[in-house]
Amino acid sequence: MDWYMILKAFIVGGALCIIAQILIDKTKLTPARILVAYVTIGAILGGLGWYKHLVDFAGCGATVPLTGFGNLLAKGAVSEVQSSGLVGAFTGGIKAASGGIAAAIFFGYIASLISKPKIKKQ
């Protein structure tokens, strides 16, 4: 077990969460907008090839936050473009991220089926 890598994942992942927490507290951005911003920024950084360095440095500290999801989409699109041209721009992104998306939809659906509906008190 590479404990140094786990520590780096902890620090980088935590730092990304601190940035989001400051955005929530200091601005009027809703969590949904922050998630969208994180994915978009991750995809742009991934497209520029910069996010790769953070992944190399911190491993899951960079891939588990949603910026890593954006990076995965962009990286998939770029590598698929290299192998199959323009079509790859459309197929590559989702192909690379398909595991996470499919798991989220499937487990999310099952989990909401087994949950008991509760009346929300506002």
Partner: protein, 154 residues
Amino acid sequence: MKPIQSKEEYQAYVDDKTPNSPILKNCFNAFLVGGLICSIGQIIFEICKTRGVDESTSYTIVSMILVFCSAFLTSLNIFNKIGKFAGAGSLIPITGFANSIVSPAMEYKSEGYVMGVGAKMFTVAGPVLVYGISTSILVGIIYIIFNTQSLILV
């Protein structure tokens, strides 16, 4: 109470009434929980690596396991409690993405399985996928035009 005339007055009124959230404490909690989730991911990744799974598959396995845990903790109403404590710490990792799928689906279950669960699942996840996928397609097209990641500086 005197009537509020301008936008600035209203803003001052709102700032006066809303309690100051303890930002330092929130940040610390977010760091702790966010970091913990990421290091759990890293531990799963290391286990996959020692079993000879290749890198990109390992990252996918990590996301799937975290999504699974988050979905079921949400359905048991545990995740919302963690979320209250951690703020962005549980929102930003992929666990927050799964939570954002499950919690509206649970809430609107009474509206039926198609337009309730099926549609409301994507109230937050939908925009995330729309912007993420659109950006990745643009990245791919820009890559074709310039045919190089010429902006790589480091």
